[in-house]
């Protein structure tokens, strides 16, 4: 992995304002998922605006792929094409009177031809699950839909890096999960993703790396476990510990054996407790019973009509859909997925309780499922099986 964005000794203050950013140093590697975490007013948005040259630092340097950013018109345009920025409030980001026109705004200004524009726009809209919305005026969309239009508008410019300012603010749980799922899909597509948020529950399981910001300075950066498990640090940053970590901490204080990894999800927590011989599945206690199987359906290879059959034949009790294509397929096949976010972990949880599950997803994410299950099996000494349905028809 090579360094994509590097910031060195950056200082910035708004005209007539207090210092907004003080001595910021960090670098972002290609393919990372970074969360910039801090309370309101910590300088998160200001820092993000540096990344695509919307603000120019007073001193210090921002470089992209090793080249210091030049603040002239041509170079800035180039940078902004590569570093896409999705603002917090979609109402001020959506410019045009229809969804199509808005998503086409970037491509048209980049000088794409008519057909290219059309193709990119339709592709971007289908990526965010909004095909068929082309003619709708933005003011008739819901908050989550507006956010996705804003995303499509940026995706249409095909950037390498995607920057999101508070991607889930003002969204309800279902809306937030949709958006986070979309971020994962984009990441699977090879994009580097940076989000800013004050929601620790959101950042903790999602991010590869966390940068903790307060009052314009970086307090800490590292993997989420390290950063969020430091109680004093989190408190100093005016944030709160993720609930699962706080519970884990309370329990270890009361004598729970510490585990190698900190719990990021319900699955992890159940696993940690079971390592302590707590809450083991009744049958599991007596003998090593077989875990449930995970049935992995490739959305491009299996027809919607066949899914019902797989479900019945394999005694499947819960279904997860990963990605917008999978959700669309579930809808066509008239299946109500039980999980649409954090799908793999939720299916693993069902599996260790002896239940069969199915994950519907597209080719890009299949490897991810295998990896996660392999890793979990290794760690927990279980043998959860994956059945691939790539060529069911044959």
């Amino acid at each position: 992995m090579n360094t994509l964005i590097e910031i060195k000794k950056l200082n910035y203050c708004y005209p007539n304002g207090p210092d907004a950013l003080k001595n910021i140093n960090f670098s972002i590697k290609k393919g990372e998922k970074i969360a910039l975490v801090g309370p309101n007013g910590a300088g998160k948005s200001t820092l993000l605006l540096m990344l695509n040259g919307m603000l120019k630092p007073d001193s210090g340097e921002v470089s992209y792929l090793g080249e210091p950013v030049k603040y002239d018109r041509k170079n800035l345009r180039e940078l902004r094409r590569k570093v896409g920025f999705v603002f917090q409030n979609p109402d001020t980001q959506i410019i045009a009177p229809t969804v199509f026109q808005d998503v086409a705004f970037g491509p048209v200004n980049l000088g794409f031809s008519g057909d290219e524009v059309k193709n990119t726009v339709l592709l971007s809209l289908s990526k965010v699950g909004l095909r068929g919305f082309e003619k709708r005026p933005p003011h008739q969309l819901s908050g989550g839909e507006k956010k996705r239009v804003a995303m499509a508008g940026i995706l249409a410019m095909n950037p390498d890096v995607l920057v999101f300012d508070e991607p889930t603010s003002a969204l309800d749980p279902a809306g937030s999960e949709d958006i986070m799922e979309l971020l994962d899909e984009m990441h699977a597509d090879g994009k580097t993703i940076i989000i800013s948020t004050h929601d620790v529950e959101l950042a903790y399981p999602w991010a590869d790396r966390v940068i903790l910001l307060n009052r314009g300075s970086i307090l800490a950066q590292g993997i989420p476990d390290e950063v969020f498990y430091d109680k004093a640090l989190v408190k100093y940053a005016k944030l709160s510990m993720p609930v699962l970590l706080e519970l884990y901490e309370s329990l270890t204080e009361r004598g729970l054996k510490k585990s190698e990894n900190l719990p990021k999800s319900i699955l992890d927590f159940v696993h940690i407790l079971s390592l302590n011989n707590i809450g083991n599945y009744p049958a599991e206690k007596k003998e090593k019973i077989k875990c449930g199987r995970i049935h992995l359906v490739d959305v491009d290879k299996v027809k919607p009509g066949e899914i019902q059959k797989i479900i019945i034949e394999n005694e499947i009790l819960a279904i997860g859909a990963m990605g917008s294509k999978a959700k669309l397929m579930a809808e066509i096949g008239n299946i109500e997925p039980d999980f649409t976010y954090g799908v793999i972990d939720k299916c693993l949880l069902k599996a260790i309780n002896g239940k069969n599950t199915m994950i519907i997803t597209s080719a890009g994410m299949i490897k991810r499922v295998h990896d996660r299950v392999f890793e979990f099996n290794k760690e927990s000494l279980r043998d959860i099986e994956i059945l691939d349905f790539k060529n069911y028809a044959n």
Binding site: I95, A96, F100, A104, N109, P137, G153
Partner: protein
């Protein structure tokens, strides 16, 4: 406090998918025929036909449509009354001395003219409603480009279109918040509250503009706005029918131009 936007209804009406050109030909054609009609026949025909089309085919709620027709009533009645008293010709049918030197008089000619104007107004409004309720403005921008209207003007219109809806939302929120704290109780409070709201909206406008500039910049704005890539399919048979309809209306208007309810005294 605020109006329902016909645009929102137009976005979901049943004949949204007909090419805007056809709907504009019908709407604008009817408007032109009704303002130039010399008798009430053509306007009455337009009122009947377009109302049926709007309610039955485009699927607009008839109650709502009726409510819309009352909008022009206040202004129309006052103005028509003035005209009826001012433009006398022919036989006097009503006269009332207000002062010694002044008679309020209505004549056959002025009644005829009053009725004619009222019919034109209602036919005009029906035609306008037909356009407003069936043709979303978003469909018209591409047409406007084809008509060689300068791009800057169209781009500006598109921005205005978008921000009308953003700002109206804010205005409603501010108004509701004031109302809940008992603003607008008396005329004085009303003026004060309204002024504060307008001022706050003005400040918001500038802030919104600043974020908009940022957003446009971050999306590589280079002086261009995108258009919808395609309009609805233009159906030539339908275009022909629409054209025929307008021609027939025009012919009817021409041959009935001498018709008056109270006899031909009006030139």
């Amino acid at each position: 406090m605020y109006y329902e936007f016909l645009e929102d209804i137009a976005q979901t009406n049943c004949i949204r998918d007909i090419h805007p050109l056809i709907k504009l030909i019908v709407g604008l054609g009817c408007i032109l025929i009704s303002v130039s009609s010399k008798s009430v026949i053509a306007p009455l025909l337009i009122i009947i036909v377009l109302s049926i089309v709007t309610v039955k085919i485009a699927g607009i709620n008839p109650k709502f449509y009726l409510k819309l027709l009352f909008i022009p009533l206040g202004f129309a009645v006052i103005s028509v009354a003035v005209i009826m008293f001012m433009r006398n010709s022919g036989e006097v049918i009503f006269s009332y001395p207000v002062f010694d030197w002044f008679n309020l008089t209505i004549t056959r000619g002025s009644v005829n003219e009053g009725i004619l104007i009222l019919s034109r107004v209602f036919a005009g409004m029906c035609s306008l409603f037909f356009i407003s309720l069936t043709t979303p403005v978003t469909d018209m921008f591409l047409l406007a480009v084809k008509c060689r209207i300068p791009r800057e003007l169209i781009d500006l219109s598109m921005l205005i279109y978008r921000f009308i809806f953003v700002l109206i939302e804010q205005a409603i929120q501010i108004y509701n918040a004031q109302k809940m704290r008992l603003g607008y109780g008396s005329l004085k409070e009303g003026i004060n509250s309204f002024g504060i709201m307008a001022g706050a909206l003005f400040i918001n406008t500038w802030n919104t503009a600043e974020s908009l500039i940022l957003a446009m910049d971050s999306r590589c704005y280079d002086g261009k706005f995108a258009l919808n890539n395609e309009n609805n399919k233009l159906s030539y048979p339908l275009l022909f029918v629409a054209g025929l309809f307008i021609v027939i209306l025009g012919v009817i208007a021409f041959f009935t131009k001498d018709f008056t309810i109270f006899g031909a005294v009006f030139s």
